[in-house]
């Protein structure tokens, strides 16, 4: 049977009555191999016109991934606040960032999203008025990743800093740092409370992630991924992002030496190192064989050499001086990200820049552990590619990532191939900062990520 050309363009008038073949529309069994070609064809024609039908099809293949964000429909309404891990797997992992996030949603989705946003506003108000501990991460929905912009500092850490500064007779810098932290927190809370446009975009993106992403990704790892999303929208505000980078024990912090927190460069990235059964993606690091009990350093210490990302993040090393949140988003040179340490370390703040390694948006490059989307070909496998089932659960991401690996095949989901970018977009990615109004909607190409 002939393939219906109109259907491929998304405008077949006959629909089901059509005598030609509508690839992939015949239900799940519709042959995965075939749609692979068609889907790319489909992509080129038009995002918005992807038929609703596609979204019905539960396939881990690239086919469903190509459905754009905005246009996709969740057939099952995700229940707010709880997430049944079994049911919603394998759906819509396509992060077609190229899709307009303002695309209209179904009424159900809109309602849920509204609830999410309202929940956030309410939480912020409560947080402010209740006098609870400020320096805590926050997530609007339990079991879901943190929202960026909040730093996690325990009271003991803060107190230790106090004592250390006291003994070195440098109380003023402690006070300054604390004040700085408080200001950052307040700014962030106000931002979220007021839900300006850019926040809304970020949160909408967040919502998409929440509903589409497997719930098995947890806290620190997925948060890195979320930063990217948040960053995209926060760029506009030029607001002090209270070092989302910091928050994730992430790479930037290499130079933040605060007295209480020696930089531990030997700690390699999270997800790699726990399971004794499998090989860590840091091939160089671990000997590959499970560290037997009794043999010295399992994964942790050994990984220091291979960890391309120096991952230690002492708690206090963040604080962006006023300037530019945008800068930190650059995939390029780390020098752009001015992560001055606001006086916590006895060292001058300027020192903090420079040696920070790239993956500020660790979402994409930053080691491995991020949300399972470890950059293809890079050294780090994420936990998802590990066979061990329990550690990261049977997340849909893992199955679709490791099994089908189509997410890398299609490339245009996570990383845009270089040739698909316009000149302007390429320029944007290569520059140190995104220019407002010219921020590409597509994900950056793999090659430009500094690992």
């Amino acid at each position: 049977m002939a393939i219906c050309q109109f259907f491929l363009q998304g405008r077949c008038r006959f629909g089901d009555r059509c005598w030609n073949e509508h690839p992939g529309a015949r239900g799940a069994g519709g042959g995965r191999q075939q749609p692979q070609q068609q889907s790319s064809g489909n992509n080129r024609r038009g995002w918005n016109t992807t038929s609703q039908r596609y979204s019905n099809v539960i396939q881990p293949s690239s086919f469903s991934k190509s459905t754009p964000w905005g246009g996709s429909r969740d057939q099952e309404k995700p229940s707010f606040g709880s997430f049944d891990s079994g049911a919603s797997t394998n759906r819509k992992e396509g992060f077609g960032l190229s899709e307009n996030p303002f695309a209209s949603l179904s009424p159900d989705e809109q309602k849920d999203e509204k609830k999410l946003l309202e929940g956030i506003v309410k939480d912020m108000e409560v947080w402010e008025s209740s006098g609870q501990w400020m320096f805590s991460v926050y997530s609007p929905v339990k079991k879901k990743p943190n929202i960026s912009g909040f730093t996690d500092i325990s009271p003991e850490e803060l107190r230790l800093e106090y004592h250390n500064f006291l003994t070195s007779n440098n109380l003023q810098s402690y006070l300054n740092s604390v004040q700085h932290l408080i200001n950052q927190w307040r700014n962030r809370v106000n931002e979220l409370k007021s839900l300006n446009i850019s926040s809304k975009v970020a949160l909408k993106c967040l919502w998409k992630i929440y509903t589409h992403l497997s719930p098995k990704i947890y806290g620190p790892d997925c948060s890195k991924f979320i930063i990217l999303i948040n960053k995209l929208s926060d760029v506009k505000d030029g607001i002090n992002q209270a070092a989302p980078a910091f928050g994730f024990g992430s790479s930037q912090a290499a130079t933040f030496v605060s007295p209480g927190f020696p930089v531990n460069n030997s700690s390699s990235d999270n997800a790699q190192n726990f399971s004794f059964k499998t090989n860590s993606g840091f091939a160089a690091a671990s000997s590959g064989s499970p560290a037997g009990f009794g043999s010295s350093p399992a994964f942790g210490a050994a990984a220091s050499t291979s960890s391309a990302i120096s991952t230690s993040a002492p708690a206090f090393g963040f604080g962006k001086p006023e300037v530019t949140s945008a800068a930190s988003f650059s995939f390029k040179s780390p020098a752009a990200s001015s992560f001055g340490s606001p006086g916590f370390s006895g060292l001058p703040t300027s020192l903090a820049t420079g040696s920070v390694r790239a993956p500020v948006a660790p979402a994409f490059g930053g080691g491995s552990s991020v949300a399972g989307f470890g950059s293809p070909g890079s050294h780090s496998h994420t936990a998802f590619s590990k066979p061990s089932s329990d550690t990261f659960g049977n997340s849909s991401i893992s199955t679709s990532l490791s099994a089908s690996s189509s997410i890398f095949a299609t490339d245009n989901v996570l990383f845009t191939p270089r040739d698909k970018l316009t000149v302007e977009e390429l320029e944007q990615f290569q520059s140190k900062k995104f220019t407002l109004g010219k921020i590409p909607l597509k994900p950056p190409p793999l090659e430009l990520l500094n690992i």
């Binding site: 709880s82 049944d84 939480d123 409560v126 006098g131 609870q132 501990w133 805590s136 991460v137 997530s139 929905v141 339990k142 943190n146 996690d152 325990s154 009271p155 003991e156 850490e157 803060l158 107190r159 230790l160 106090y162 004592h163 402690y174 006070l175 604390v178 098995k216 990704i217 806290g219 620190p220 948060s223 994730f248 024990g249 209480g260 020696p262 531990n264 030997s266 700690s267 390699s268 990235d269 999270n270 190192n273 726990f274 399971s275 004794f276 560290a291 037997g292 009990f293 009794g294 350093p297 399992a298 994964f299 942790g300 990984a303 002492p314 708690a315 329990d390 550690t391 990261f392 659960g393």
Partner: protein
Amino acid sequence: MSLFGTTSGFGTSGTSMFGSATTDNHNPMKDIEVTSSPDDSIGCLSFSPPTLPGNFLIAGSWANDVRCWEVQDSGQTIPKAQQMHTGPVLDVCWSDDGSKVFTASCDKTAKMWDLSSNQAIQIAQHDAPVKTIHWIKAPNYSCVMTGSWDKTLKFWDTRSSSPMMVLQLPERCYCADVIYPMAVVATAERGLIVYQLENQPSEFRRIESPLKHQHRCVAIFKDKQNKPTGFALGSIEGRVAIHYINPPNPAKDNFTFKCHRSNGTNTSAPQDIYAVNGIAFHPVHGTLATVGSDGRFSFWDKDARTKLKTSEQLDQPISACCFNHNGNIFAYASSYDWSKGHEFYNPQKKNYIFLRNAAEELKPRNKK
């Protein structure tokens, strides 16, 4: 006044606690005060295991010391010994035979204190303050587990200076608990990992946090067959999550409850929300106690999902708590936990440890 074996409850204090300048509100519950309490905030408390006759209490404080008292049946507390670190002590624990005490400190080391000889030697080293320390006694090995802000979990054979095993954590370790063969570690950034300790420690599962804010304390509970089956996790937001590892029905069995908030029923005025500083399970009844920055402690029955009791408000936050091995004594420490920053820190203020008869008040709600 006998602490054990009698059924006479202590009865709650009747003193008003609001605004009266003359009454000293440091002990509204009229509990037994431990003599020679530490000079600075108490970060951790631990009672001796059942293998040791009698009850001995260990407390680590921000004055860099670890103190030991003998608690007699009469309620009298006798200071026994003390050891020092070079930094504040963040966690303490006992070995299973009651002969050694392990202490973890901000000086990035952990020490083993032999009580009989009163000698302490260093047994562990980290790159950042050691936040948690636990003794693991498995059939085929024994070791000390230390969790640190350097994002590692290390296991030490006390005879060797290098760790038996190092596990990476995704973030700084904030709290941990061990009941063989299960261990739970809660980290910064709302990380939550469960380990299984049979044969050798290995990561069992990473769990999405059931709480929306920073993790503060965690305690494992056991089922009717005395096997660890889940844990309670407390956050800075006045909330505790009860989480079972393998429940038949996760959506229904796992739940969270709010605690340590003011204005319970009055919904119009904004609530004050306090951090949950410690959670401890009664070894016999399986009910739990929580202590918070609001200066109160509460007893809960997680199976009946009810609150059993809330104390009066102390004038300082309660920073730590623990039960003794048979559940007759509940100890809690009243000292500043830094929940309001340095402005509210008063080095002159006295820090207390109180002991309370816990035999009666923590009985579960009857479901006859």
